[in-house]
């Protein structure tokens, strides 16, 4: 953070599109990208005399998301109307949950940061339509209107843009793991609105909030928050009065555009939705959903940690499902956690990032990677040779065995050659050998290195060490 004099307090609201086939209160298909106004009906268009019907599938996904976040799912929640005028809101109100949300009181662990962010609530609501502004007119598309959303509200526990980033990535990962939402940020299916306030360290009361909308990437979130924090600190230093303001992030100019201030804040006139009875859940059903939850990211991480992965490896894997699946397949093929970690997360990652490629473009199938590791493990390949081999495999996509022959990478296992090399190195380094004999046995590493050099790495170091020891002792 830019300052040690101030404390940054961030709360985050996320709207995640639930992965249902049909909309929240009607039977229209969820296909926001279909030709405009083709996935609509009298219900989602809010025509006169039409009533909503709750989509049970959306409720189920909401429950799943809530449970995955450790929230308590309420046996009874209620629908409310939130009023404002906008051409993309056909009823003049949005059906949402207000005083009685679906779930409350969860928490989310920020991976690697040793910190938890509390979740205040998760509630269900319907999305609005989409406006397109042209130079002459504004067009409205109602395909998105009525698509189910889960709004997830954190407590103001986030303290920095980095934590905000970690929170959002973990939240996305959780929603994906339980298949509640595909949470694709770029497609507007995972929209986050942070509210930020800054206060001098030690001050009890919270500062004035800035809210940011229209953040369409993780980068935008970080930059937007950094910007809001910098602005607030500047104003505090200048002694300026800060007014509660909602900003829009301008992706191109990378700046915050004020949208509205507190005095003009909308009065949404919430009141109970009379067209829908309270949402009363069958406890057995809710329990059943909970029992069917897959292993959650935090739990998986602690399992992998126990299995020997480093936190950094875990972070990479949890953020990138394609890496993770490759990794898990390696484990299935009998590779150890350490082997998989070294050869996938260090070596392969290095090769691919040098080439600017994704794991999905990696030409080495899991089985081939496994045979490379097996050869290495059996001493049939030296480590440097294995690295060389992997690079060649990534280049050509050829099998390990083929390339070992082509490149003459196999290990020298001929005892005579090994013996000769060991003798030669000992003869060339009398002072080192002297140290060894005086008890400094770790200098053997140096001698071993020299031998391997002589052998161009094509030997099993353990066999060489055996010869060295025999002649030295």
């Amino acid at each position: 953070m830019p300052s040690k004099k101030y404390e940054v307090i961030i709360g985050i609201e996320v709207h995640a599109q639930l992965a249902t086939l049909s909309k929240m209160f009607c039977r229209c298909a969820v296909e926001a990208d279909a030709p405009p106004n083709t996935k609509v009906c009298p219900v989602c268009l809010g025509l006169p005399g039409i009533l909503p019907q709750t989509n049970k599938a959306a409720v189920e996904l909401g429950i799943r998301a809530a449970q995955a976040l450790g929230c308590k799912v309420k046996p009874e929640s209620r629908w409310a109307r939130k009023h404002y005028f906008s051409p993309d809101l056909p009823k003049g109100y949005q059906i949402t949950q207000y005083e009685y949300p679906l779930a409350t009181g969860g928490e989310l662990e920020l991976p690697g940061l040793g910190k938890k962010v509390r979740i205040r609530r998760l509630h269900l609501e319907e999305d609005a339509g989409k406006l397109t502004h042209t130079s002459r007119e504004t067009l409205v598309d109602f395909n998105r209107c009525g698509i189910p959303l889960a709004e997830i509200v954190s407590e103001p526990d986030v303290r920095s843009p980095e934590e905000a980033d970690a929170y959002l990535k973990e939240l996305r990962q959780i929603l994906r793991t339980v298949k509640a939402s595909d949470a694709e940020m770029e497609r507007g299916r995972f929209r986050c609105e942070p509210n930020i306030s800054v206060r001098p360290l030690g001050q009890k009361e919270l500062g004035v909030r800035s809210e940011i909308k229209n953040l369409n990437s993780f980068k935008a979130v970080r930059e937007g928050i950094e910007r809001a924090v910098a602005d607030q600190i500047k104003w505090l230093e200048e002694g300026k009065e800060i007014v509660q303001t909602t900003y829009l992030w301008d992706e191109h100019k990378r700046e915050l555009k004020p949208m509205r201030q507190k005095e003009t804040a909308a009065d949404y006139r919430y009141f109970p939705e009379p067209d829908l009875p309270p949402l009363i859940l069958d406890i057995e059903w809710v329990d059943k959903i909970e029992k069917q939850l897959p292993e959650l990211p935090a739990k998986k991480r602690s399992r992998l940690l126990e299995e020997g992965l480093t936190e950094q490896d875990i972070r990479i894997l949890s953020a990138e499902p394609d890496w993770e699946s490759y990794y898990l397949e390696l484990l299935e093929k009998g590779m150890s956690v350490k082997e998989a970690s070294t050869w996938l997360l260090n070596e392969t990652r290095g090769i691919l990032s040098a080439r600017g490629e994704q794991i999905t473009q990696f030409k080495v199938p899991v089985a081939q990677m496994a045979s490379l590791i097996t050869l290495l493990r059996g001493g049939k390949l030296s480590r440097p040779a294995a690295k060389e081999l992997l690079a060649a495999m990534a280049d050509s996509g050829k099998d390990a065995e083929v390339l070992i022959k082509e490149m003459d990478l196999g290990t020298v296992s001929d005892e005579g050659t090994l013996e000769e090399t060991a003798k030669k190195v000992i003869a060339e380094n009398p002072d080192v050998c002297e140290k060894y004999r005086k008890g400094k046995t770790n200098v053997i590493g140096f001698l071993l290195g020299q031998c391997m050099k002589e052998l161009r790495g094509k030997a099993d170091p353990e066999s060489v060490r055996k010869f060295l020891k025999r002649f030295l002792d």
Partner: protein, 470 residues
Amino acid sequence: MKELPAIADLSFGLLRGSIKAQDVVADIRDNIEKREVNINAYINHYIDQAETQARRADESGYPEDETADLKGIPVAVKDNICVKGWPCTCASNILNGFIPPYEATAVKRLREKGVILLGKTNLDEFAMGASNETSAYGPVRNPLDPGRVPGGSSGGSAAAVAYGGAVAALGSDTGGSIRQPASFCGLVGLRPSYGRVSRWGLVAFSSSLDQIGPITKTVEDAALLYSIIAGPDENDSTTCPQPPDEIRLTGRIPEGIKVGMITECFEEIKDSRIAEAVRSPFIKAGIDIQEISIPLVRLSVAGYYLLVVSEASSNLARYDGIRYGKRISKLGLTETYFATRSQGFGDEVTRRILLGTFGLSAGYIDAYYNTALSYRAELAKQFKKAFDEVDFLLTPTTPTVAFKLGEKIQDPLDMYLSDIFTASSALAALPSISIPAPDKVDGLPVGIQLIAPRWKDSELLEFAHAVEKI
């Protein structure tokens, strides 16, 4: 005027072949041609289509099975209930040109039983009124005395049935909009328990109170229509999932029945002849009537209006001229909203939207809307307690007989008091029926209102049928 038969008689006649649907529809055409210009009961009628349907019905005959329960029966529908392909105006300019591509569940169920739809009847704009004077399509006059109002908001439905423009009609009742016009026009009007009849396709005024119900010549007709339109509907999540009880109309007053006259209502009546007219058939039949106090009924108009204006302000937010109906285009969006809504809505609707918006706004919702909600819950408890002592409750339907056109339109509060006896049972979600008293006052009909516990619609109809026979 050509007198029309009741549904029950017409059905029987059609079945026996002693009467033809075509002849009835021809009589209706005659009546419409003679009276409509003066009465203005219909916003749109489709008498030509009805004639064609009647002819087809007669040609295909009247089988003695359930599919033809109401075959050949000509019925009118209040113009806030959607009929697929027919304009639905709600008597408001803001819905100019709106044609719903769907049909109300109640209408659909009637059609499935062979009903012939005649047209869409006039009403107070968005059902907001008690005199049918707030309609953008002009006021409706009472066929019994055209200088007087037919009541509202289902004034067109009541007037059409009263002058022979329809055999029966559907209306909607939020705080008395079926019962009060039925009373003013000498007809039977049933407000079912809230949740008995699907609201799908009924344009919402106050969603937690709106119910569709029949306006008919007899209790038997009301029961016939009710038994078809009532019942669960997956399109309306507020309908009761259990089907309604069967109705057995015997005409007999059950032994030992107890009827409670709500003290607070009878106290309000200035004209003792109305109270007398309401009581007399019960006294004549020797029914045990006793006074019973439900103190919170006194506040029902205040509580009722706080709730309905709040819900109305929300329900009517959708009329912005963007997607359907009338749009007054201006340069900016806000300007277009202002122009469309101020020109599209009439004064009464505007008044209620403004009141309701205020009543729901931050800082006021507790004093107004939320207070009304707790009032409603308490009132329901008092009703429940009353039903521990009596089987049905009795009040006059209205404090006066039909009043004159223009008499109350300038004084909204006075107009709101027309709902004084009907609003409380609506708030408590109870089934209530208005039937004409045998005695008139100044030659005008008086309505007897009977109220039953929730979901006891069938018992209510059975008892009202017996009282009607006295």
